[in-house]
């Protein structure tokens, strides 16, 4: 197919396994030069996707971790008025405003001379209107610094990966421009592959036992927070370090704290184990 060069760029890396659907979504986003919006349960590797995408394509990664107080403009640039004020008091030269402009992550990605991967992490953490404020910049891939009149336009459109925890509804206008993918919780076979990537020396028997316990635990009804992939990997790490053989352990799951993070859940699982 003629589109082979633009398509099929990303196939995961040696430490990151992607499902076919996700691989497809990533490649569509890259080919269409649209932001990729990734949602899914916590711990399914949304943030890691951007890191590994950058690694696989050999591009540098610019991260923007969104917090509840983040404003869209902060992502472009920050005008450090306090520093300028400070300099003016102590006789510095403050005529050059550009000296006090610091580019934010989005600004950096747009100003970069080469193509980069931009990660906008947990976009739903910020104010409800936050994604709307990004629309223009993500569409046009250019922005202007009002204070100096300087314009930046991306020479090569960055690959934008946006993650969201599904906490808030994102605005329609924003969604319309994105390529969307929901990372489903991996099934047993995919999970086995993922664990093997992180613990290459694990034996099949140990892996089987661990997955048995893990998926059993996820099926416990009324859990407040189900354990996720990253927790499984930590747990296996703990088991290995302590040299615990799961097949021989009776009564209770060792290191339960690495899998379950709330008191109620630990109690609940404890009760069910006894009964």
């Amino acid at each position: 197919m003629a589109s082979d060069e633009t398509f099929e760029q990303f196939r995961g890396t040696d430490s990151y396994i992607v499902s076919d659907e996700l691989r497809h979504a990533v490649n569509v986003a890259v080919a269409l030069a649209r932001p990729l919006l990734v949602r899914g349960e916590p711990g399914t590797g949304k943030t890691l996707l951007a890191e590994n995408l950058a690694r696989a394509l050999n591009l540098s990664l610019v991260r923007w971790h969104v917090k509840s107080t983040t404003k869209a403009k902060d992502g472009l640039y920050v005008y450090d008025t306090v520093a300028r004020l400070h300099d003016s008091r102590f006789g510095g030269d403050v005529k050059d405003i550009a000296k006090y402009i610091k580019l934010g992550p989005l600004g950096e990605a747009l100003a970069s001379p080469s193509r980069v991967v931009l990660l906008i992490d947990e976009v739903d953490k910020a104010d409800l209107e936050f994604p709307n404020d990004l629309l223009h910049e993500l569409d046009a891939m250019r922005f202007r610094i009002d204070e100096t009149g300087q314009e930046y336009a991306a020479r090569e459109r960055p690959i934008v990966v946006i993650t969201s925890n599904n906490e808030k509804e994102l605005p329609d206008a924003f969604l319309r421009r994105c390529v969307f993918h929901y990372i489903q919780f991996p099934d047993r076979a995919l999970m086995a592959e993922i664990v093997k990537v992180h613990h290459p020396d694990i034996t099949d028997r140990v892996l089987d036992n661990a997955l048995e316990v893990f998926f059993g635990l996820r099926q416990t009804p009324k859990l407040r927070k189900k354990p996720s992939t990253s927790e499984l990997i930590d747990w296996i790490c703990a088991l290995k370090k302590a040299g615990v053989d799961l097949a021989r352990v009776s009564g209770g799951i060792p290191f339960l704290g690495t899998l379950l993070k709330t008191e109620q859940d630990v109690e609940l699982v404890g009760k069910r184990a006894k009964a």
Binding site: S3, H24, V28, L32, V179, F180
Partner: protein, 407 residues
């Protein structure tokens, strides 16, 4: 032909815009659907459906629209060519068969295949003629005819199978609510304002003051932004509400979470609000509704949860309460009107499924309060109504109904 699929999607309330549809066309022009139905299924979903709650509806639409199209039919010619080109596939054949095969025209083979597809009316596994799995026919997958052609597949599951499985059913928005979902829905219910202790640096004001101070720094603080929304929640308990007790308690848990609202009060009532509501679900500590009306800010947001189902007399007659102790002169509907008139924004959430609303007291109460079903969608709409106001839902024709009952 695909434009019909767009309308099939829109018919199922998937908000697909022209913008997204154009993107899909662009992507298909680039060949991103890999010339297969599976590829198209994923491509279209990734571009047009932006919410896991809508995946199930998408699967339904996909099944309905593509039910007559066989997986990978488009890729067929390519596959046949590739299959014929691979000498391993010919190993099990005798020389005569090979010679016969060399003469077999690709178009002819394709015709045969399509012919059989047309004749075949159902899913087929095993056997020696039809296209399917595990058989000995030359067409199909996982079969053991040594000369068989593999149709579709390549390891992955086909889009039709995926759509047919409807794995996203549980994500549907209109089914149940857990505390977290309610939490998220209630987050929309906020108006930020600055009140309380001054603990945040006000940069603009600091710069301003400093300038006026001839450059000597004058630092100004201000209170941080907090949610100023105040909420009164009134819940119907007991009787016909028993099946919904768990649901209402989840709503209560989410709403009463510390720091969510500037002020949160909750009351209980039975059946309908009369002259008193209660602070506890056992109806021991009564609070006169008149007191609530006179002591509360009109900007507080009133949320009533109840099934709004009762005997018409309980709602419309003065002294309609079933309890003798609460003899009163105003009817239930009158108290509801007073509440709704006092608070600038008020809403009623009803756990009763919407299809049972028609022709009951629900319609009458819905003519007083903006009523929404207690589902995730309904809650989101109710929150939007509380914050922004706007059109309230039209439910039935209460005037007509009342005439019939009251005479």
């Amino acid at each position: 032909m695909l434009i019909d699929f767009l309308f099939e999607l829109r018919k199922r309330k998937l908000p697909v815009s022209t913008h997204e549809w154009m993107a899909l066309m662009e992507a298909m022009a680039l060949g991103l659907h890999e010339s297969s139905l599976d590829g198209f299924y994923h491509l279209c979903r990734t571009l047009c459906v932006k919410d896991i709650a809508l995946y199930d509806a998408y699967d339904e639409a996909f099944l309905a629209y593509f039910k007559d199209i066989h997986t990978d039919a488009l890729q067929l010619t390519e596959q046949i060519r590739a299959w014929l080109a691979d000498p391993r596939n010919l190993e099990g054949l005798t020389d005569e068969q090979r010679a016969a095969l060399a003469e077999l025209d690709i178009e002819k083979l394709r015709e045969m295949f399509e012919q059989r597809l047309k004749e075949q009316k159902e899913r087929h596994d095993g056997g020696n003629r039809w296209v399917g799995t595990g058989g000995t026919s030359p067409f199909g997958t996982n079969g053991n005819n040594p000369t068989g052609m593999r149709v579709g597949g390549g390891g992955g599951r086909s889009a039709m199978a995926v759509a047919d499985e409807r794995r996203f059913k549980e994500y549907r928005r209109d089914v149940v609510l857990d505390v977290r979902q309610i939490d998220v829905a209630l987050r929309g219910l906020r108006r930020l304002g600055r009140e309380g202790a001054q603990e945040e640096l006000d940069l603009d004001e600091t710069v301003d003051k400093t300038c006026k101070n001839a450059g000597d720094i004058d630092i100004v603080f201000r209170p941080p932004r907090r949610n100023r929304v105040k909420v009164i929640l009134m819940m119907d308990v007991g009787g016909s509400m028993d099946p919904y007790a768990e649901l209402v308690s989840r709503l209560f848990t989410a709403a009463s979470r510390a720091g969510r609202f500037a002020k949160f009060r909750s009351f209980y009532f039975h059946n309908c609000v009369y002259n008193s509501v209660y602070e506890d679900a056992q109806f021991r500590k009564g609070v006169p509704v008149a007191d609530i009306l006179s002591h509360s800010d009109r900007d507080e947001k009133l949320v009533i949860v109840g099934d709004a189902l009762m005997h018409p007399a309980e709602l419309l007659d003065p002294g309609g309460s079933m309890y003798l102790s609460s003899q009163n002169r105003a009817s239930g509907i009158e108290w509801l009107r007073r509440l709704n008139a006092h608070f600038r924004s008020a809403t009623w959430l009803n756990p009763e499924p919407e299809r049972f609303w028609a022709g009951t007291t629900i319609e009458v109460i819905a003519s007083v309060f903006a009523m929404y079903p207690l589902t995730l969608d309904g809650l989101a709409h109710a929150v939007r109504y509380l914050v922004r106001g706007g059109q309230r839902p039209q439910i039935g024709d209460p005037a007509k109904w009342m005439k019939a009952v009251v005479g």
